[in-house]
């Protein structure tokens, strides 16, 4: 009997892993982009995975699992950003994500990107790095496709990069 239960648990884990497991890595990267702290990103992914498991009954279409899961991760990141207390400049912490360089030095793209609002960074990451179509970027960030397009364009403009044609 206990063997059967154990086997069932193993099957559930395998099924869930087959569904969500391949998304853990992009989810972690998305969380790093959002939170800019690998330890918090790790926590966010674990918490999001738990929420995904709890809410898996609400996943109607398995082909949409990527945007479904990444949207849970994005939500979790937003929640953690809201709750953390160190989102102000402090000199007594070593890593100070809010402390960033001057407004008109446009020479280091990595640094400039770190200054974008988290959701804009996430939109760039999803659109360019993960190559998601705008409609899926919108689903992940729970915004409209138009807003997703605007965010990508706004971020590009703020980075002073050339305008890009954004395919729908």
């Amino acid at each position: 009997m206990s063997h059967a239960i154990g086997q069932a648990a193993a099957d559930r884990e395998a099924d869930f892993d087959a569904l969500v497991g391949p998304l853990i890595e992009p989810a972690f990267k998305l969380a790093v982009v959002f939170l800019r702290d690998p330890h918090e990103a790790e926590d966010a992914v674990q918490e999001a995975t738990l929420k995904a498991w709890r809410g898996i009954d609400r996943l109607r279409d398995e082909s949409a699992v990527r945007s479904w899961f990444l949207s849970i991760v994005a939500n979790q990141c937003r929640s953690m950003r809201r709750s953390r207390w160190w989102s102000v400049l402090r000199t007594d912490v070593v890593r100070v994500p809010a402390v960033e360089p001057a407004p008109d030095t446009r020479l280091d793209l990595t640094r400039e990107m770190s200054r974008l609002p988290a959701t804009d960074r996430a939109a760039l990451f999803l659109f360019f790095y993960l190559d998601l179509p705008l409609a899926e970027v919108a689903r992940v960030l729970k915004i409209s496709p138009q807003a997703a397009k605007s965010r990508v364009h706004r971020a590009i403009t703020r980075l002073r990069l050339e305008m890009v044609e954004v395919a729908e």
């Binding site: 990267k29 690998p38 400049l89 809010a98 990595t110 770190s114 960030l141 890009v164």
Partner: protein, 555 residues
Amino acid sequence: MSDRTKNRINAAFENELSTAPVPAGLRALSIRDAVAATPRRAVQPQLLVVIATIVVIAVVATFVIGSHVLRSTPLPAKPIGSTVPPVPRTDAAVAYDQAHGSMVVFGGNAQNGRPATNETWTWDGKFWTQHHPAASPTPRLNAVMAYDAVDHDVVLFGGVENVVSSGKGGMTTVDDTWTWDGSQWRQLHPVHYPVLGFDFPATMQFDPVSRTVLLFGFTQSHTEAMTDIEAQTWLWNGSDWTQMHPSGGPTTSGVMVSDGEGLMMLAPTKAPIAGRNWTQLWAWDGSSWTVVHDKLDLPFVGGYMDAAYDPTLRQLVVIGGEVRMADTWTWDGSSWSRQHPAVQPFSPGYMAYVPSLKRVVSWGDRYLPDDNEMFAWDGTNWSVIQPGTVVSSGATNKGVITTRMTPEQAASLVRSTVKNTHPALLPVSLPSSGGPWDAFVQVTADDFNITYESDMRDETITICICVANPPPATGPNAQVTRVKFRKAVGLKYSPDGYAEHGVYDMSAPASQRYLQWNEPGSMTNPMSGGSMVPYYVSSTGLTEQEFWQVANSLQ
């Protein structure tokens, strides 16, 4: 799509993510813990019974208590205020209603990803009141509002609202006009009206010269690249909109503000001028926009700002800068001054002058739904005159920048923190012209990034251990050269002993410029291969001589 742009962005993400590898075992751990922690199951029938019981009791209690209250106490004539502010919100429309002595807040987004709201709140200098008018504009973001001193009401125009079509969510711009009389909204139906895109937010203010409300915004883009948008200026005379056709004007989203005698607008330059970006102050003369003083532009304070005029102090107060890194600036009619308050809202809020307080106030955060404190400006300092309810910003210095680091403190922090990389080079000489300098630091055991900013923010120097990805210096006056520098490690594109030096505009003495090289040394970060340390120095507002003064002082 431009592959180059995509490649550069992806390279930047790769660079960032290279310092945060996916933890080994994260996949297995996350999956196993999730499955083990909470087996999925339907809601327990017993739980449903308990919930149903609670609901029944609550409903009965509500009827009993409610009917008693209705019999014994007349309903209040107007909503009762509270010192508890609304939850933080971005993209709301805010105007000061002079007729009723209150700041009006309409719409906005209380949480990223959530639908917009159509809540109407007022703040009378002490109490917040949520109104429940019979009619109201639809929930929306980025509507514009201004007080109309002729009709003594608040005018609201346009914005972006959520729509649902065929089961799919989306956003659409609206072009309706409403007025607020202190307790009710009324929709007007003008014959003419602007049709704006709101990809770039509009701004609106009462013009004391023409005695009309002036709206500045941009048309809807019809191309993916958004290069076809057009700036538009419209007048509201209380019954209809009239389009103006000024020559020139800002080409980016701005913030319009009135000093009681005229209208001004702050707007960032769209492209660098003399190798740098600025925030320009424009004036409206009734028919055209002109730059107030093209030699006295405010340094570029980023796209994030708000402003209000203080008639008591006779100064325009601006909070500008990057999110969570704002500065306070004042314009006295002839020059800009960066203020040095002991307390500083960390981001631009919704700003207005409140006559009853004789203060410019800044509420919340226009760009992040993280803060709902009320700050007031006394000419020297900001103070929190009403606390917020959000605890996201910290316990002791919530939402406030209380300290800035000196270069000496920054050096000490870097020296004590960077343990895995040698050498950690820092400048021992900064140009005396820009001081006192502030330093902003990001540092780990492997690397660091310091930006020094001059007091007026017109000179900046950045030095970092990083593989930089500067925009290519390819303009007609740009120049990229190899220069002998220290004992730089050669790479395939540069021989030993040479660094790459770029200047974006050789005709501009204070153009942006940079230097990047690989310093002999060691670091555990794999991006350097271990035997060298990638360095990058850049500057804005420094001459070539000053730049090399800094670069040659590294030790």
